[in-house]
Amino acid sequence: MDFALSDEQKLLEQSLRRYLAESVPATRVREIMATETAHDAKLWRDLAELGAAGVLVPEVHGGSGLALLDAALVQQSLGHAAAPAPFLATSVLGPIAFAAGTPAQQAEWLPRIAAAQTVLGAAFTELVHRRDAAGVRESNGRLDGTALFVIDAGAAAAFLVAVDRARIALVARDAAGLTATPLATIDATRRVAELRFESVAPAEWIGGAAGVPELAARVLAAGRVALAADVLGACERAIEMAVAYAKQRVQFGRPIATFQAVKHLCAEMIAELEPARSLVWYAAHAFDHRPEEAVAMSLHAKAHLAEIGTQIVRTATEVHGGIGFTSEHDLHLWFKRVGLDRQLLGGPEVVRAEGAALHGW
């Protein structure tokens, strides 16, 4: 047994973290998130150079041909930096979807993903549930309806769209009859949108018009593990900031870290985080190696990280006192990042209900 990251995985993580720390500090994050699409083409190309954009793309198509655990490490690093990058939709959900595609689809899209030559958005919310009468239907080869909370929509050139809750279509952003409306959320480091379809002809169906069994379940499982990893990285960062601040901030003539109350806040955060890290690793591993557990573990990772993540970013804010509540201080970037991660592809209650149904309970 060996429950640990491989040397290659550690290296991938280190090189990403080093790059992000140097090139995407919070000041840069703020600049990128203030732009309309929150997309930085150079950052995206650099992530391709580092092997991140194509982490899940098979080697024959120019990627690294790695597994979801490797992708989760990338997502975690992005969460740690609060980096604005369309990794989730383009580099996780995209390759997982295209794995079920035709050889022609794979040959067309996967090399471009690995080389950061395209950005995808993912309209998968309605695979989970429908709000505000959303949902995209197909009739006579045309798509109608709306998709909400489309992930990484800011700079997307094309969208993967869940249709009738089962099949996945690929639609170009400039397709006739398609309108994309940005939706503002608390988290400005990523862009979600509403897509409105009026008799839109899909560019193509992933794996054919009949759909591919289990494809919806697979993209959801991968997306949920990635979101859990993003929370994991964001929380690592929030804890680092809280611990560093507590050691340096003086009140009553001593560093606040000398107060047991403050120590315990920090200890509680890390005591929640470390087991959760192992859960995310296992869920990512299960996706590729333990198919019978893959979905259940993705649900646990998503729901559990959402719960502890919410608690951790709140606690980290409390450790900072008044300064943690300001917009000038960077901590709220992670507070809000976790807030969005919590709800995307289903909040904890929604996800746990799926888990119970999966168990047949």
């Binding site: 000398t258 008044g322 509540f325 300001t326 807030g339 209650e349 929604v350």
Partner: protein, 398 residues
């Protein structure tokens, strides 16, 4: 225990309900806001109307511009309930009416009461609280902003921070070091400072909500009459703590929680997921019921505290827990609202599909600010343990 709503109370409720029905269109928009600071005509006119009818500043003596009624717990409860039910602004609140006015009633000179209470409760004079400084947060008595005597004036130099509404305020009640040789706590005075005095500079600080602002306030040779000290010189610590007591009650206002809870119920009845209402989801409904119990506990707790204070009894440790639990309930109400809306719950900033102008995210973040402000949760717990339970203090730093 006697909670019978006799005929007098039924009449009071019926009149209030009729009043709210008849006049609700005149109320300023935005629900029940405790932040204060708005001096627009609608707000001031509404406040005037409420005071005339005894629905605001109810127990403030007539000679200071209030309605002059005897304190009455049941009427207080009816007021909270009916304003919450109607979803209508309960009038001007915030640091002036809710914190300074009770402090002046307790410690102010007759002249100070005459001068400040009326305009404050009418919403004409907006106040900010100048306590915290960069190095005096939890350790509030470490205030370094100092005043030296010069004739009949003080000359103030230093800096305050996190000062809510300072950018809107006419006046500050501040904690200032006036007695350099009287030790950490004994050297402080409670000073009323006009914000228009030359030498005061207000710099806004953004909050994570992207909306509400607080500020830094800088003092350079700011002249304030010594007559503006409330109580005696060197008594500032004691008086500031009177204000803090009122702040903690304000922050955890049971009426505010009830109104917020009522809005949550409405939200959960109208939001749907796959066509099913949030309130029909047993898991969310269970969270809702837990909160309903906590809101009820907070409400009856505040009735109990009010009774004790009217009887001039000290309720002991029970009086010290209000802020800790109240701010938490407010945070949890917003957290449930967000989860009930799911992805819709993270929308903000005027987004399409946004509910209630983003009020729930705002409340979620702002209540976290209130868990920190007015004495952090950890400081509250220290107070509860030390003053409430008689546990010894943490040893001083070596």
């Amino acid at each position: 225990m006697d909670l019978s709503f006799g005929p007098e109370y039924e009449t009071f409720r019926a009149e209030l309900r009729a009043f709210l029905e008849a006049h609700r269109e005149r109320a300023p928009r935005g629900g029940i806001v405790a932040a204060g600071g708005s001096k627009d005509a609608a707000t001031l006119a509404w406040q005037k109307l409420l005071i005339e009818h005894g629905y605001a500043a109810r127990t403030i003596p007539k000679q200071y511009g209030g309605y002059g009624a005897e304190p009455d717990i049941l009427k207080r409860v009816i007021l909270d309930e009916e304003f919450a039910r109607a979803g209508v602004s309960a009038g001007v609140g915030g640091q002036g009416p809710d914190m300074l006015v009770p402090t002046l009633l307790e410690h102010g000179s007759e002249e100070q009461k005459q001068r400040w209470i009326g305009p404050t409760i009418r919403g004409e004079v907006v106040w900010c609280q100048g306590y915290s400084e960069p190095n005096a947060g939890s350790d509030l008595a470490n205030v370094q902003t100092r005043a030296s005597e010069d004739g009949a004036d003080f000359v103030v130099n230093g800096q305050k921070i996190w000062t809510t509404t300072a950018h809107l305020a006419d006046m500050m009640f501040g904690l200032i070091r006036t007695e350099p040789n009287e030790g950490k706590h004994g050297g402080l005075s409670y000073l009323l400072i006009p914000m228009t005095t030359p030498g005061i500079e207000v710099r806004p600080l953004g909050t994570m909500t992207g909306r509400a602002e607080f500020n830094e306030v800088f003092f350079t040779d700011v002249r304030v009459p010594q007559a503006n000290v409330v109580g005696r010189r060197g008594e500032g610590w004691k008086i500031a703590n009177t204000t803090l007591k009122h702040e903690r009650n304000m922050l955890a206002s049971a009426g505010g929680l009830e109104a917020s809870f009522a809005r949550l119920v409405e939200l959960m009845k109208s939001e749907t997921r796959d066509g099913r209402r949030a309130i029909d989801d047993p898991v969310l409904r269970d969270r809702l019921l837990r909160l309903e119990a906590r809101v009820a506990a907070a409400k009856y707790h505040s009735m109990r505290m009010l009774t004790a204070s009217l009887k001039k009894e000290f309720p002991g440790v029970a009086a010290l827990v209000t802020k800790l639990s109240g701010c938490e309930i407010s945070h949890q109400i917003a957290a449930l609202a967000i989860d009930a809306m799911g992805e819709l719950g993270v929308l903000y900033d005027g987004s399409k599909h946004l509910r209630a102008f983003g009020m729930w995210q705002f409340q979620y973040m702002f209540s976290l600010g209130l868990i920190i402000g007015g004495g952090t949760a950890q400081i509250q717990k220290n107070i509860i343990a030390e003053r409430g339970l008689g546990m010894p203090r943490e040893p001083k730093a070596a």
